[in-house]
Amino acid sequence: MSSPPAKLRVQPDDESPAILPDELITEVLSHADVKSLMQMRCVSKTWDAMISDPKFVKLHLKRASRNPSLTLFLSKSRIDGDNNVVPFPVSCLIENPMITLPNDPYFRLRAKECRYVIGSCNGWLCLLGYSSIGAYRQIWLRFWNPAMHKMTEKLGYIWDNILGLYTHFKFAFGYDELSETYKVVLLILDEARNRTNVQILSLGDDMWRSIQSFPAVPLPFRYSNPGVNDVVYLNGSLNWLALRDSFRSIGVYGWKNVNVKEFVIISLDLGTETYRQLMPPCGFDEMSPVEPSICVLKDCLCFSNDYKRTDFVIWKMEVFGVEESWTQLFRISYQNLQSMHLDFVDLQYSQWLPLHLSDHGDTLILANKQERQAILYNLRDNRAVRTRITDDIQWFSAKVHVESLVSDILKPQVHQP
């Protein structure tokens, strides 16, 4: 069935239907959701082959990336303290429905023997679980594609001492396009030796392996659960906000001693497994009691900081790696973000995290550490509304996620000559 250019029946009265050529059918299907596509494999042998083809999977993923979800993390949910993770389409979130998330066992983590979501990549969630054995924890990872109903076994076992996971370990999940390998990176703070060790697990390998230690001190190092967003995956690299110079323990009160010039963004290329240091925007020139952060908006690395406790500023690195390309994206006054109903909340003293910027750049989804709800900020008329989902969501753990047909992420190690 290949006939370019497609010919139509000319007579308008002709009863025969149009016949779409394969390329157009492929294009139509690339817009369909995963559930429907798995059903459509039954349509015919050709369709089965088309939908399973890795090229189609890539095309579908590209389209799906324009319609992402946020994984909503519910801790200690209504059912016996289990954690839930529910992918929620951004387009739906922006419409701000007043709803309660369905209590679907499919989204519970305990049954998967896991507790947290480390990251999301190409439709796969990296989950983390552990069990305590004496003074130690045995930690493991598990990978789950909710759209495809596929999940790996537990793997990547690693030990920590009982304090390590919540204070000295940082996990990150990403994908190296060149080798087509998914990788998990673990930063381990080694206070005694004044350095941060780094281990990598390539999915498909049995073991973690060490790489060069981290060239700075990653932020934040204080008690936080492993699911909190503290690393940014972008185009084959993982990026952390860090402090250069010698190691210091940065407690909650330590910010006053930190100089703006000490901030650096460490970028780890997942292909070469080497580091790069990027300076934050030079417009960020004054310290503040509020911690800055990095995120991805519109496929660009972004840096956010408080400005004199009056505004929240977001910068965008237009060209990745080019420090001169930092441009101010938004400057939002805290007054505009203030909720009418919560005037005891001091927004200017708490940390912010931008989660998503809509396609046409008019709605910004923002999370604030002090608030239960996320903020939908309309950039055209500078109005902020709170989300109305009634569940208790940990917005600082929300990951950008897509539905994908990628069915296999464990790759046997290929030995390069």
Partner: protein
Amino acid sequence: MAEEKSQASSSKMLTLKASDGVLFEVELNIAKEMKTVQAYIDDCEDIETIPIPNVLGKHLAIVIEYIKKTNEEYDAEFEKQWNMDDLQLLLLAANYLNISGLQECLCKAIAKRIENKSPEYVRKVFNIENDHSPEEEAKLRKEYKWAFEGVDKD
């Protein structure tokens, strides 16, 4: 049939001739959105009437209207007016005329209409013969049982 855009008073007009002979007078900037037509103009500068042999008059009218009015709101409502056959014919037209915005809009619309429908329904829509053996199909249905739950009635 011809509708002039209010702004361009001195814009050149072009005639497009559909497969069933229907003629459409359009402004050059509208016609240029159809990359196929643009290529035609680039090749023969003095042309005034361009034949569009693959597209019926009724569909060409819809395509021209789309080009004139397309925006987010219009696109959202656009596809609702047409039945599945027309959507496919319009997609063929958009593809032939090489109008990427319309092509994407139509692909999305068709995809939406076949989502969560049974394989039999989808086969009818695209006129496809089932060449799976009953065993093969049963195997797929079993392996992806979750996909077949809660399917829309045909």
